[in-house]
Symmetry: C2
């Protein structure tokens, strides 16, 4: 099984660095981002999870819980978290980094050492193996909405560290379009104009966008489907 948009994210029983729980109960009434990495004590993963930990306040502001996953054990996660905290502290010096560099880690990391989730969710990287020759996870990301359904996903190989600015941008778009009848154009960022999708009929535009909508009327087709608004 690989998850498609709109599929319910399975309610796995999880063993994590922050204890054992059912995934849906842990999410509660929040959005979720589940992201896998190939292995603890490896370089790219360290840069990624440190960055994610530093961004914890940004995800919290967005009512979103983060959870990591790899095929390592909880014991390995605990040891590696000390490295993550040290690394996070070493690459920046502001207040947020100090919070990251000690105490409880910013989010749980799942122990998928039996590769159950990795296999079920199609997260295996065919080019990565541990010292025993067992497969490892790629850099998958699942965005999970309040209804526990998959809203977006990314699948990068072990060799490419993700871009957390893009992860936040995508989350902002998902949340804004869950709240308002809008869609966000290519390369959109918070504050940019949004698009009024075809599902909003002309007669409803005023209701949803009392501040006005800018319509492009000079396309060769003569159709007026490019309608932009500031929200």
């Amino acid at each position: 099984m690989s998850l498609k948009l709109g599929d319910e994210f399975p309610n796995f029983h999880l063993k994590t660095s922050a204890g054992d729980f059912q995934f849906h109960e842990w999410l509660g009434n929040q959005w979720g981002i589940l992201f896998s990495h190939p292995a603890d004590y490896t370089p790219v993963c360290t840069t990624e999870l440190s960055r994610a930990a530093k961004l914890a306040p940004e995800f919290a502001k967005r009512n979103t819980k983060l959870i990591g996953l790899s095929c390592d054990t909880v014991e390995n996660h605990h040891g590696w978290i000390k490295d993550l905290q040290s690394y996070a502290g070493s690459v920046c010096s502001d207040g947020a980094c100090k919070t990251v560099s000690s105490g409880e880690f910013a989010f749980p990391i799942i122990d998928d050492s039996d590769r159950k989730l990795a296999k079920q969710l199609g997260m295996i990287d065919p080019d990565e193996f541990d010292t025993k020759g067992l497969p490892l996870t790629a850099r998958a990301v699942f965005f999970i909405g309040l209804d526990k359904k998959v809203k977006a996903s990314l699948l990068y190989p072990a060799t490419t560290g993700r871009n957390f600015d893009e992860i936040l941008r995508l989350l902002d778009s998902l949340q804004l379009s869950a709240r308002l009848p809008i869609a966000t154009p290519v390369d959109w960022k918070v504050g940019d104009k949004v698009m009024v999708p075809p599902s909003v009929k002309d007669e409803d535009v005023q209701k949803y966008f009392p501040q006005g909508v800018q319509i492009k009327n000079d396309l060769p087709s003569g159709k007026s489907y490019i309608r932009m608004a500031q929200v």
Copy 2:
């Protein structure tokens, strides 16, 4: 079937705005990016495909062919391409835009009006339907290597336009790590330092990185897995 990393991308026979062909033969000895959009004559898709067309020289520099896909017919694609060219011309004024705004469009767009690829490749957006109530494609992206295998993928809903800077960044990382035994850290951009992955043994570091490697030796674990190099 949904494609996982390392799966061969199927060699579909394609009907496109630039003629009919077998996918693999059309790719030839180039990388490929196949990306779907929900529908022609819709706002977000127009911003995305216009941006992609303007970036055609960037993809060409990277020996990469772009190909779009939606559940519209070739006839619709031809009509919409005129809008795309007009739109691309209207939102910028440099030389590249002039090239985009007339003549042959920068890349083919697949006619998947029978939804064969959309269904086989797991690209359906459960929240999007055409006027007949038929399902539409989400914003999927497949990165395909010279070996015709999937190297990375993205799956965004209709409501979120993609980020083409991230698509180029990811492509740059995929190509660099296909050429050299390196991996790129979180948020990496061309020119930034890269990571030496665990697969490169200490005794081989000098061979691959004669310019030297910077090793982080002060992690709590005492392990020296963070090795960075400029390439």
